[in-house]
Amino acid sequence: VAGLSPPLTAAAPAPAFLGDARSLQKQMLESYYARLAGTGEKRPPVAYMLVGGNLTEIVRSFGYDVVFPEIVALNCAIKHQSLENILHAESMGYGLDVCGYVKNDLGLQDLGGRTSFGQIPRPDLLVCSFSGCFVYVKWWEALAESYGAPLFMFDVPYMREPTVRKEDIDYLVSQLWEFIHLLEKKTGQAFDMAALQRVLAESRRAEEGWVEYLRAGRLRPSPIEAYFEAIFYMFPINVLRGTPEASEFYRVVNEEVRARVRDGIYPLPEETFRVLVEGVPPYTNYRTFWDFFRKWGAVSVVATYPKVGGLFDRGFLHDPSRPLESIAEYSLGAYVNQSWPLRRQIISDYIQEYSADAAIIHGIKSCRSFTAGQGDLRDWLIHDKGVPTLYIESDHQDPRYFAPAQIKNRMDAFFESLEQRRAVSAQKVPA
């Protein structure tokens, strides 16, 4: 059957445009988890941290490795291992509406921390680096109680206006000194500002490479998939930032992207629709969701989710000459720490800068701090900005909330309407 809406069951071709960078990312991920599991050289101490506003560079300067339970959870989800952990957490008493990241992680920890990609080590230190979500604060408190590890709460003020206030920076820098003193006491090492600056310089190199990759989405056709592909490449910028391997990774990625442009290799043979995507992906059904885009020739040219670890493409880069102030600015600038008017402005700018035809918002049931406001965003984009926008909802961790037929139906109808509008405007003859 030919059709406007391609069938659910038709197998989409594999994303052949992915080259060496994706293979390298897989290797880096495997060796990272192998290192954490202590199968290689002696494992360094481990700090658990949240992605938003993280203090990676400081702990790294003290010789710590970093574990992001959110990233462990998403790795479980993409490998279809999240439900078992979530169900276990629910049997421990966590309710149906508690965040999937939290339940996946707490369930996993209680089951012994074993995953198909490695043993997740116990934390030596807990750093709650994003305080904008109260559930996260409670999650870290639960981990502290469970492991008896020291807990540092980093209180980051919410961003209600675009300019960073000096009072906020001072407040955060004073907390960073408290944190440094805690690390000195715990490790017995004196804080080494030069070591921190070296880590920050390495972070900056990776950030510059990451931004170059993301901005390739401005090309027409786009040589990158700024949501489904970029999500793979978030791993080095979030987990390995501050190490030479992260900056080297983006050199490899950008070389590949330049080769794609030179050789005419694109995410899809034909870029029919250029789409902005907002929201956390349904990791449990990642390929299925991607196929829903690909079957319509839709390429995401820009997305907000890959920026949760830093809005580096909006002008901020870590600055080794202002180490602590720069880290404070970074923490304030986390994407989910922005008020909705600021998030709307970012999205509106992206749509223009990347020539997006439409926006697709994926809301997740278990995270209100990311999702609350997305319904209003949809209305604002449609009514105030004239941007065709679709809102769909499932979950990033819990496969029980992903209803493929319903989601596909909404996406098919959305792309049908885009196609109809495009056909009608092509039929119009200029006066």
Binding site: V1, G3, L4, N409, S417, Q420, A423
Partner: protein
């Protein structure tokens, strides 16, 4: 003039419309079971019998609805959102908002002056506010789904049904029954509850006259009145409202055959 067929294979029923130009030659409505392919074939045969024409005379078939991919003998598939929009615009050209309440889905669709979809909003992944919700509650009261609309119109003191979950609403109905409440008043409350949920969906896309009511539940007079009351205006309803998806599919097929955008 060529003859086309539109087939709407929904979650509860299969509908088929046979169309020649702007004239509906025949139609069929039948329940959907486990073998959707056979159900679709039967629906087509029934509509052909109603039209008095042979299968070979149909030059193009379009499938829509959740079972659209099971219309293997068709040439085109289109979502029911586009089809209800097109069908409603065909029957009521002034339509700007379509409300479709089917077995498991409720949709509000905003359309432009050409009948093209501008925006749409659908119920979440549960059956609250759909035909299934009414069916479950009708069963709890011991009525057939076909008679509850008329009964609800006889209510004197409509009850307030607050549960949004179908299963919980069934319990709420049982609790009213055990307290001796008049079933007609309970039914009116159920219809009002669906009208409230539907209105909030419509508000998401923007309410603008004319509103056309489609889908199986549009045949329920109690629901039409509840919606009219909530809107403060009369919705368009046609004897073909339940066939709107199939009609729209046939119209899309006509356009595709003519080389249009469909």
């Amino acid at each position: 003039m060529t003859i086309v067929a539109g087939m709407d294979i929904g979650s509860t029923t299969a509908k088929c419309v046979v169309l020649e130009g702007q004239r509906v030659l025949g139609k069929s409505l039948s329940p959907v079971g486990v073998d959707i392919v056979k159900d679709a074939e039967r629906a087509l045969e029934a509509a052909l019998a109603d039209s008095g024409i042979a299968r070979s005379e149909v030059s193009f078939i379009t499938g829509t609805g959740y079972g659209r991919y099971k219309v293997y003998f068709g040439q085109l598939v289109v979502t029911e959102i586009s089809c209800h929009a097109r069908g409603a615009h065909f029957l009521f050209p002034g339509t700007r908002v379509v409300v479709d309440i089917g077995g498991q889905d409720t949709k509000a669709i905003r359309v432009n002056e050409k009948g093209e979809v501008v925006d749409f909003s659908m119920n979440d992944k549960c059956a609250a506010g759909t035909g299934r919700f009414l069916e479950v509650c009708a069963n709890a009261l011991g009525f057939d789904i076909g008679e509850i609309g008329a009964l609800s119109l006889q209510a004197k003191r409509p009850m307030r049904v607050t549960s949004t979950c179908t299963v919980f609403a069934e319990s709420e109905v049982a609790s009213y029954v055990s307290r001796g409440k008049d079933p007609k008043d309970i039914l009116a409350g159920l219809h009002a509850s669906i009208a409230n949920r539907t209105l909030s969906l419509m508000q998401r896309v923007g309410i603008e006259p004319e509103v056309t009511f489609t889908g199986g539940v549009s045949q329920n007079g109690g629901m039409v009145r509840a919606l009219n009351r909530r809107l403060g205006a009369s919705v368009n309803v046609s004897p073909l409202s339940q066939y709107m998806g199939a009609l729209g599919a046939a119209l899309h097929g006509q356009e595709r055959q003519a080389g249009g955008a469909s």
